[in-house]
Amino acid sequence: MKILVCMKQVPQKDAPLKLNESGTWIREDVSYEVNEPDAYALEEALRQREKHKGEVVVITSGPARAQQVLREALAKGADRAIHLEDDKFVGLDAFNTAKAFATAIKEEQFDLIFTGLQSDDYGYAQTGVILAELLGWPHATIIMQIEKTDAGIRVKRELEAGYFQFVDMPLPAVLTIQSGINKLRYATLIGIKQAKNKPLRKVTLAEVQSAIGGNLQKIEKLYVPQKTKKTEHIDGPPAEIAKKLVDKLRNELRVL
């Protein structure tokens, strides 16, 4: 099986975010990491390759810094990488990101494309499904298990409130992967060394420009959300906080 994994670089979970001057994006001087479900998507692709042979290719779009996620993926075992490199990719909506990906992989023949089920920064929850539609492929979302069958694949979709559903589908297909589908591996020292010699193809904005258009949606303003609930802060040294909390628990909430 030949599998493409879309991996996005996003600000680290507890990175303190600051707004840029125009208030339309964050200041980029934060630490970054791999979007969490994308790491699970990569792991799943590696496991499928271990079972069924084939190739795992990783793709990202973003500035030079985003190469880090590709390097990590190569170190964990991906065979090669594609980097759509330009600062401007950060500002694309999901429709245009998917179009850029579709254009960059035009010459390739994948059996499966994995994306994460949503990104931690934009949180569109759309790029994978849009990509499937652009390619004319079937898709399934929020996937927790994948098995090869004679006719294609059988996947397990997570539904709300603890429900699941198996879906049989033909290949090629796009799947959006949910965190927790597997256990992540660490890169080994050998892997990190080997990664240096693995192919990494760069794609410029100019190469995909003709396929993408203006964004169909626009961020007018980004801001810290206003609080709607009255929150009482409990401050002081830990021992004092503990006393104050117990006082609340006993006298106000009456749970003690």
Partner: protein, 331 residues
Amino acid sequence: MADTILVVVEQREGKLNRVSWETITAGQALAAATGWPLEAAVIGANAAAIAAEVAAKKVAKVYAIESPRLEPYTPDAFAAALKQFLAAKQQKLVIMPHTYQVRDFIPKLATAMGRTVISDCIGFKHDAGKLIFTRQMFQGKLAADVSFAGDVPWFATFQNGAFRGDKAEAGASAAPVEIVPVEIADGLIRNKPQEVFKEAKQAVDLTQAEVIVAVGRGIKEQKNIEMAKNLADALGGDLAASRPICDSGWLPMDRQIGSSGQTVAPKLYLALGISGAIQHIVGMKGSRTIIAVNKDSEAPIFEIADYAVVGNLFDIVPPLIEEVKKAKAGG
């Protein structure tokens, strides 16, 4: 072209998903702000039965979009049916609840029409004739005002809990229902869904718990779960967790709170090292009192907390266990 708003409600096996009422409330608010008439649509093999229920609300019209091929749900059939319907009706704005089902097909539908979806919105503004949708970004740490830059129909989905379902206004009389049969071609549906099921019985039922101590990734290591357990025991409560804790196998899945876990409403929900992502919040925001301990003063969990403790949970929990024990012993 008619400037009409269409709410597409969600049903499964003849039952309306409750979150649909919230989207109708959102639609009514949008209609009041813009002056655009509001219509509703139900999609399914037997949509007409539910259409009548929706028609009792204040909407101009309800469409029952029907085909036997819409049961069971597949993204291929749903996108095809709605595309056909929308091409004929030319609505301006189409809104839906941001459910797992909607997020499975709405990006496909919009893309097939060359349009976009502003997803997972928590509200809207209508300023000087411009329609703006508010959505969370960066896991709820920031909010964004987003506008449409392309052609109509515009698509938007609303987050669970963004509007109140019980505020959906009833109509003066039942709205007319129009049954719209759609053609779904042979071979168009590629996925073959099997029965929906629930994983082996849940051993733990947290829905009745009065006190819940929930741990998130701030607990750092599996061995630290013990400390949270001690606090839960001292309080006579149950231990629960955010999804990553269950994904790592530190606690079993049946202790997970949130959209893919249990929904709880205890007297006290004590959140330790949980950031407050919406998928967690939907499972616990009905708690009577929420105490959050988080080292990040800007963590979204504090937006819904009644009591906020900004600090390191490893400093705060041990003395808290001692104080609770003392209080229980009558100290």
